[in-house]
Symmetry: C2
Subunit: 403 residues, 2 copies
């Protein structure tokens, strides 16, 4: 009826967001969305930050700078410095979550038909985002150590025409979504070499990096650019407060080389004028209060405990049903059902039993591995994690009996 | 150096936003941006709303629905009903200001090369937005009664190929930006007929409609669709709290036929996941408190007084320099310098004298009328309006002496 654009003639909704309708059921135990645990929100600390921010009510209520309010940028610079990254105001664009940071990057870099590289599997909404911009989305394999950098190298070496040269690579190198895998230090350094050699923009999405509960911290790609001259020109780093403070602030950011950052700022002018200066003010007050560090310690312990609870329950109650790697941080366990059982089938039986997760198909660009699934341990309580896996095991039994 | 997308190889920044750097000068009197008067913010009412919203801290801090939180949608439905528009939840997408509502519409309707119609002159950021999406932006003339609907009809009748058929018409029919003009009732009805006849999506941007301080209220295009069967399928209405409550909330919305609204929701998933549920919660509390109606009465009086002050000062101090129509509402006076003097030249002399405005060139798609300018009376005090026009008159004298 309406003359929709190509990407929206038959739009595909997010496979994760589409499960939200079941969340209103209070009996439902959800391993689905990447929701932080509400019990781990710093409700009082944020109330206090909100009260302080509103002392400068004019800054909360009036239009702010399109690229982000100055006070928040100062705090982001400080936070990134603690993470081993030196940056400055002109490189930062504050966004409505890091989702928007990626969308703005696509806007300034991608023409319809351009190639965008992603990990396979990868965060489904960013496959969607790239497709909305008309990109040809090309997957690169991953394994337990994250992106298969040798496979990327073969792919880049094999490019014969300018038109096939990828505009960017999107990667979540630390506690990846959906796999939970972390790119090894060796691979990180090799990836930076490839970026310089092939003049490839690497988009590093790092919402989970602070949520490490075991193993040794590995510096971000951005932090490692100091090791390799010229590599800083090819890394765009995206950060977010959604997983470590609260998603409701909708505060994310990108750190880019100045010509890219400037264009993201211009793109944001017509995208939404600017993100709310009110929640930016609250975020700035929260970060400057010193509350973040102890808060991260607390949620790290909380998520570590839940991750161990989920993995133990999966081994105990579903040992025959699936295989998985236990992650060192983040929010997700990526698993594969034995016997090629489609995860969508298990999901159907699971929803009947009031438990849910996200089938892995939506995280693949093409050739989905139908037996994969993503389980988030972040939101449910330890008790519910155990109960939820029990329900999953029931669902597995039920469909297994049918097979 | 970087392989930017076509729209961002040589990006054009907003002519309005680029003047912001002068705002940090405390001596500057600005008639430039469309900033509301901070003295007219309901600082206490919004603080109270913020306190009430945070009682449900979980809703503020967690992810909200992509398409907007339910309580805010309920309030928007009520507000629109007071404005003569019946709508329902499935038609509404809450956005980060109405700027994002337009951007999402472009995303779901426009392929590169498609035609987008705009009024000439029109809001500069939406020319930019359409161009970012690769649209061919085609201007339609306006006069003191708003869009020249007869000119539009000739344009539509003259279309010979499907490729030239416009995807949408963007219009600010009530107290237009930049002209301040209001589309007559007769023209509104005729415009709806044309929309039905030519299956043309009309995007009605209505941020200023409540800010009427003289003349009789004219219903919005959306409110008038009841008069003409079928026209409701072709009107998308965009609303905003930026001008009537506070821009810092970043709360706008679109009301569309369901297939368009559904696609805007999908587009928003990958654009930013969702606008802040925290500021949405504050907006919902504010709207439900009953504070909006008396607040609008108050700002209407305030802006009316300022508009009269600006127009009187212009007549008194710059009567020889420019011509303009006094608007019945909104925030803007659109003027034309006599003797074809370029407004950019006056601006240069004005900034030296600590007063500024926006030259009209940026509001034109092509063939800019260089002698036009936009003056906003919203932000400065009545005393500063008088002083500012005095400085403008000085600047005029100075460049006139040179000519």
């Amino acid at each position: 009826m309406y003359p929709f654009s190509r990407a929206f003639i038959h739009p595909a909704s997010s496979p994760i967001r589409d499960l939200f309708k079941y969340l209103s059921d209070p009996e439902m135990i959800s391993f689905a969305g990447g929701y932080p645990d509400p019990r781990l929100f710093d409700v009082e600390g944020l109330e206090e930050a909100s009260r302080r921010a509103y002392k400068d009510s004019l800054s909360c209520l009036q239009y702010g700078n399109t690229e982000g309010i100055a006070r928040l940028k100062t705090e982001i610079i400080r936070l990134m410095e603690q993470r081993g990254v030196k940056t400055s105001s002109e490189n930062i664009v504050v966004t409505t979550g890091s989702q928007q940071a990626f969308d703005l990057l696509l806007r300034v870099l991608v023409n319809p038909g351009d190639v965008v590289l992603v990990e396979s599997p990868t965060y489904s909404s960013n496959i969607q985002a790239a497709r909305v911009h008309g990109a040809r989305v090309v997957p690169v394999q991953t394994d337990a150590d994250g992106l298969d950098v040798a496979a990327l190298e073969r792919l880049l070496d094999g490019i014969r025409s300018e038109a096939d040269r990828p505009k960017l690579l999107y990667t979540v190198p630390t506690f990846g979504n959906p796999t939970g895998a972390t790119l090894s230090l060796q691979r990180r350094l090799r990836l930076l070499e490839l970026a310089v050699k092939h003049r490839l923009v690497i988009v590093e999405d790092d919402p989970y990096g602070d949520l490490r509960f075991s193993g040794e911290r590995i510096p971000s790609l951005k932090a490692l650019t100091g090791e390799l001259p010229g590599s800083d020109d090819w890394v765009v780093h995206m950060g977010s407060l959604s997983k470590i403070v609260a998603p409701g602030l909708r505060v994310g950011w990108s750190i880019s080389p100045a010509p890219i950052a400037y264009r993201c700022y211009i793109a944001k002018q017509s995208a939404d004028v600017g993100s709310s200066p009110w929640t930016q003010g609250i975020a700035a007050e929260y970060l400057s209060s010193g509350a973040l560090e102890p808060h991260i310690e607390r949620i790290r312990r909380g998520y570590g405990e839940k991750c161990r609870a989920l993995c133990a329950a999966l081994r105990e109650l579903m040992g025959d049903a699936l295989t998985f790697h236990e992650p060192n941080g983040g929010m997700f366990v990526w698993a594969r059902l034995n016997g090629e059982v489609p995860a969508a089938e298990l999901l159907k039986a699971s929803i009947d039993r009031k438990v849910m997760f996200v089938p892995g198909a939506g995280f693949h660009v093409d050739d989905p591995v139908l037996s994969t699934l993503r389980l988030s341990f972040a939101a449910p309580s330890v008790a519910n994690i155990h109960a939820g896996v029990g329900r999953l095991a029931d669902a597995w039994e039920a469909i297994h009996a049918r097979i």
